[in-house]
Symmetry: C2
């Protein structure tokens, strides 16, 4: 008999299973509630939960001996029930044990919301992630990434995978992990910045979804040592506003991805998807009232409030705070053709126009007292002709954290890595 | 005026541009051929090449001064021409220089096939990759990955991104890159093996496309220190044959991805796409005539020939040569429930059923004299109930190399990393 998923038992999902039919399910023993003469078993599979009513005394005893998270197959009959999830329950079950756990898990998965503290959940991620609410965040992440790719595919972008082991620190010498590379020093890429720019010379429009690495010495609720970066870069732009228009499409695609692929997860976590306007409002850094060269988190919150918007571009950051490859504003050279995208009061994306002339790179490095030599493979691209171009990078975990209202980014990071955590 | 791509000039691609229309193109000065009274300019953009006829003496002189790879915009008139690529050329051009190179590139991009040797091409990747034939391999890679994801999405898989910095070597202690992690030792993941297995407990079916790292001390034409692995893992299987059926769908999806998304690149490189049969033939290791515990490359070639097939599963490899998490064949415990998929005479995929019982893991580690302690986060998943499961890993670059007939895997690797190469 073909396996039925729990979702197929819910007619409202458009996947009805006939009442009275005999079906075969498989999954984990999520919980059992023993009453006087019957036991309710909750079986969990990748789709959700199903309620199984056990009335046979012998089966009640058999099942009663099983530990939570026992892997089961069950053949049973589909029946209506007002109390059951989705209005359907299963009756007259015959259980087969597929795999027995060695002991009861240290996380009480049966609760609608887990009560354990974050460090406990992270220490026992292999079992904590099985909870429907915990895993929902990663369904949202997967759906966002799929939507991101779909949006950029439509715009003629090509997906690339670039090396994570590099000879030169990308974003400056600090916060970089050092590696023993066959007896030589090497580094973990802080971003695919150099490679994606070089690839503009090849495909004009490229994107990458991959890990980036920052040896962040700060143990905060929003920093990770490794995270997933959604990068894009495009050539033949006028200025950074062309990049911002593509970013708008990418964000709209991510929202659409969630709506299409993970509506259940979004509902379970009470995610309110943002409405992405055709043109996301923007404010120039010089008009933010900030005296410093960068925005503080408080500034970011205030600006979103002042402008009454969930999504707000801040453009024209002072050159002083942007990396050497940043293109200055030709009209106001102390400002840059760069932007951040704030989402619900927090920076989500950084991007901008890059320098594209070889001579400009040599000058920018010289101004910072950097030798061009370690950047040789990168500078080549500009030596041999590059169009005006720019791009952006979205932090995936930060996006999911803002959507789900997670207080700590680790709640929505699969096996987080930070100053203190390297396992599981 | 909206930019027109060179591909839009070719009516046979179903994107006709009206004859006599004035269009604006942008791209790189690929080549110019000067005749007595006119110059043919080849402009290259992300779509391909366009031929522009320059008859105005002043423009001929202006253009004649430009270096190859100058980034240009051109406004010109669409005209028919039997000699031009796609039967269309552009006349009466007005050029605008967008960006000038600092010097002529060291690679002669104008040739239909580059004549430089591989080390030269790799040293100058930022410009060599611009050649239509060089970049075509990466269009095929991108299309393959898109097709892989589409096939697994249809089968209910969830995409994951797992950490690349790990505390314990995944596939054994050898060939692992060591890292300074905030003063502690850490490693680069040799595969997402442990994580994808753990995630079977969460989503049942998961896949990942990401970098893996092997400190390969051998400098061969088929080994890399970093490559892209297409991983998948699924639960609730009977045995490895269920995994092989999913792999068949993934491979068929990759072929379909190329057919849909990169037909031009495949044609340019003369790629013959394999026909993926509904059931890929298989042979048990014990029936291969091989006395050793593993197949040699010569064995792999011979087997594909003997079976007259491009795709051949070899199943039941001796346990001695498989990693500790491999599930033995219950009938013949010296053989494993594992497989390799050979493609055109070479191993492309490794996979199999894994152990799923906690006790079996403890025994398997003990037999190998390994302490369970470093594997704690991984073993948790099995301690708390895991279904029978298995999976596979496809090497992306190896796939593209087999398809394109590349002699050296570095030809189809974006910025390869090996024993001797860490740049560009």
């Amino acid at each position: 008999m073909q396996r039925t998923l729990t979702g197929e038992l819910r007619p409202q999902l458009g996947r009805p299973t006939e009442l009275g039919a005999r079906v075969r399910l498989a999954g984990w023993l999520h919980h059992q509630r023993r009453l006087a003469r019957l036991t309710f078993v909750l079986l969990r599979d990748r789709d959700g939960l199903a309620q199984i009513v056990v009335e046979c005394a012998e089966t009640i005893e058999e099942i009663g001996r099983l530990l939570p998270e026992t892997v089961l197959e069950v053949e049973a009959t589909v029946a209506e029930s007002e109390q059951a999830p989705g209005g359907i329950e299963l009756r007259d079950p015959v259980f087969t044990v597929l795999s027995e756990p060695a002991e009861s898990p240290p996380i009480e998965l049966r609760r609608p919301v887990l009560k354990e503290q974050l460090p406990t959940l992270l220490d026992h991620a292999s079992v904590a992630l099985r909870h429907p609410r915990q895993r929902a965040a990663f369904e949202i992440a997967a759906a966002s990434v799929a939507g991101y790719r779909a949006a950029l595919d439509r715009l003629g972008f090509v997906e690339i995978q670039t090396p994570k082991i590099v000879a030169t620190a990308t974003e400056g010498g600090a916060n970089v992990f050092r590696l023993d590379y066959f007896g030589r020093p090497a580094y973990l890429a802080q971003s695919p910045q150099f490679f994606k720019q070089v690839m503009v010379g090849v495909f004009e429009r490229v994107y990458e979804v991959g890990p980036v690495f920052r040896a962040e010495p700060h143990d905060t609720s929003r920093h990770l040592a490794e995270y997933v970066s959604l990068d894009a870069e495009l050539g033949f732009i006028g200025d950074h506003f062309d990049v911002m228009r593509v970013l708008r499409e990418a964000i709209a695609g991510m929202v659409e991805g969630i709506r299409e692929r993970a509506p259940g997860a979004a509902e379970l976590l009470g995610v309110e998807l943002p409405v992405v306007p055709d043109e996301i409002p923007w404010v120039h850094f010089a008009d933010t009232g900030v005296e410093d060269v960068d925005l503080s988190p408080a500034d970011e919150r205030r600006l979103c409030e002042e402008h009454g918007t969930e999504l707000l571009f801040v453009t024209g950051y002072p050159m002083a705070k942007r990396p050497f490859y940043t293109h200055p504003d030709p009209e106001r050279p102390e400002h840059s053709n760069s932007f951040d995208l704030l989402f619900r009061g927090l920076e989500l994306v950084t991007g901008g126009q890059r320098l594209h002339r070889y001579g400009d790179y040599l000058s920018a490095l010289a101004v910072r007292g950097l030798s061009p030599e370690p950047y040789e493979g990168y500078l080549q691209a500009f030596r041999y002709g590059m169009p005006p171009h720019g791009g952006f990078a979205i932090g995936l975990e930060r996006w999911v954290a803002r959507l789900t209202g997670a207080k700590n980014i680790r709640e929505v990071t699969l096996f987080p890595r930070d100053l203190n955590r390297l396992t599981p």
